[in-house]
Symmetry: C2
């Protein structure tokens, strides 16, 4: 009945009872079981790759049971085993880009990130014109196509009823591209407002507080109804800087694992922005264009190379 004192000998004696937990990416599992009839927890996690040159130079030839899952032009993806397999499920996902270009190398190389503060002045003089230029280049055509009903209508989960909703208050709901559209715990939707005068949170003003509160509550009710999720299991956030300059709201399940998309310095809680507007000094026209906003930028981003780096080096003011 006494457990063996040799630590290594304990592991093979573990008797599995149930999968107690796993993280979203599934690279960590917590197994509940027993050893010698006493309760035990076994936590297993994928380890980091060995970054040793001698190991990496043999890495591709050491793979076994390579199975091609699909390919598109120069992109191919696979499942494979590290070392020999012996009836185990594959433990590696592999992508191959071949032949690749310099652009691919640049995209996948480690990119340094900078933390910047966009003051109201920097916004007005440099960032707002940058946003205007991006809009003028037609980068939002795909958004307008959806709003106007020309494309992706099969993906629209909800659209404000036009007969009862004023023009300025309409929005539609879409699944985010990164959501698999079925796993509730990683639900990720986007709300696109139909009005085109709000480019980002910078355009939100005190006069929008009532509308924003109603949109948040309407989104929660609709998503709750569509997916059978409690309203307090959803959260809404916006990005600054956003990827495109048409105001849109991210709606995620609270258990969606935090990743780069929800990080401080990139994501802001919509509820907190609304509360910030409500307690801000000034009249109805006062708004988020007056505050300093701090965020992170990759050194390869145009905002860094065209605005914040020149400002830092005093080539721009």
């Amino acid at each position: 009945m006494a457990a063996p004192s040799n630590a290594e000998a304990l592991i093979p004696q573990f008797k599995f009872e149930k999968l107690l937990n796993q993280d979203q990416a599934g690279r960590r599992i917590v197994l509940q079981g027993t050893i010698a009839d006493q309760p035990a927890l076994l936590l297993a996690e994928r380890a980091a790759f060995d970054a040793d040159e001698s190991h990496l130079s043999n890495f591709s030839s050491s793979l076994s049971h390579i199975q091609n899952l699909g390919d598109n032009d120069i992109y191919r993806w696979y499942m494979a085993h590290s070392g020999s397999a012996q009836g185990q499920p594959p433990d590696l996902k592999i992508n191959l880009i071949y032949p690749c270009t310099d652009q691919h190398l640049k995209k996948y190389a480690a990119q340094a990130v900078r933390h910047v503060t966009e003051t109201a002045d920097i916004y007005r003089h440099h960032v707002r014109p940058y946003m205007q230029a991006k809009r003028d280049q037609g980068r939002l055509n795909w958004v307008f196509n959806i709003l106007d009903g020309r494309t992706e209508q099969q993906d629209v989960l909800f659209r404000s009823p036009h007969d009862t909703t004023p023009d300025d208050e309409r929005y539609l709901l879409l699944p985010d591209l990164n959501w698999d559209r079925k796993t509730l715990g990683s639900l990720h939707l986007l709300a696109l407002v139909e009005r085109r005068d709000i480019w980002s949170l910078r355009d939100l003003k005190k006069k929008h507080v009532a509308w924003l509160r109603s949109i948040v509550s309407d989104i929660a009710a609709n998503v709750s109804r569509l997916y059978g999720i409690d309203e307090d299991m959803l959260k809404c956030y916006v990005h600054y800087q956003p990827t495109y300059y048409h105001f849109h709201i991210h709606i995620v399940h609270v258990s969606l694992e935090a990743g780069a998309t929800q990080v401080v310095g990139k994501a802001l809680s919509l509820d907190n922005i609304v509360s910030q507007l409500a307690t801000m000094a000034g009249d109805d026209e006062a708004g988020m264009d007056k505050v300093d906003l701090s965020f992170t930028l990759g050194e390869a981003s145009e905002l860094w190379t065209q605005v914040f780096l020149p400002l830092k080096e005093k080539r721009l003011q």
Copy 2:
């Protein structure tokens, strides 16, 4: 010279040149190389565990080359191989808790999370008294021991010079427990203020704006000097709710991988809070105790069971 058309046959032909990138946890690597003298990128990622019952029930007995790294009472940790090894480095980290208690099971089981809004009223009537109770239970003694110089002095990286810094403006810098204290890309420090009247960001007022700006700039200068990091590669954030009720600031390298600690609904940019205070309506005494703050709470947390659940169920108001 032509590359083989068989996708599987490409992989073993990959000739390694350099490690182009890896994520912080090291579970994804990007290798630059060539196939038949043309440039190629190989991206390898640890796969999710197979959550199939039949696989999990054999999981522990399928491990090989189990190596015990250490143990402490009922906690043991290991490196191991999934399947057989053949000279590969270990690909698994294992923890064993044995014998474990019900508390362990509860801690490691998946916990549902709720999104709540703490209004100014809820803060004043329910959360502030809860914070007071936690402080009265002596939960901050470890903080006060550090501030008073009784413990952990060897860890203090910086302390405001007492002869030149007013009482209310002093702080000290410590490494965060989760930082390995050497990898600059994952640098994580804590600034503890010496004053004891600010329990959380809820106590920050317009009158503190100048002090907060000077503390942020002082922290950046000190960390930059201590570790040779550019100031714009650092960001400062605070948690709400925080883990303990004495005002403290997290300082991280911008490249520290986003995790639960930096997630929207938990972390707020300190710069943005200062800007929010600066543009807030009211006199010097106006502050963050007047705004609604939304955040997520685990269902097992006391704030959920003692405050927000009873409020939701109208057992409390």
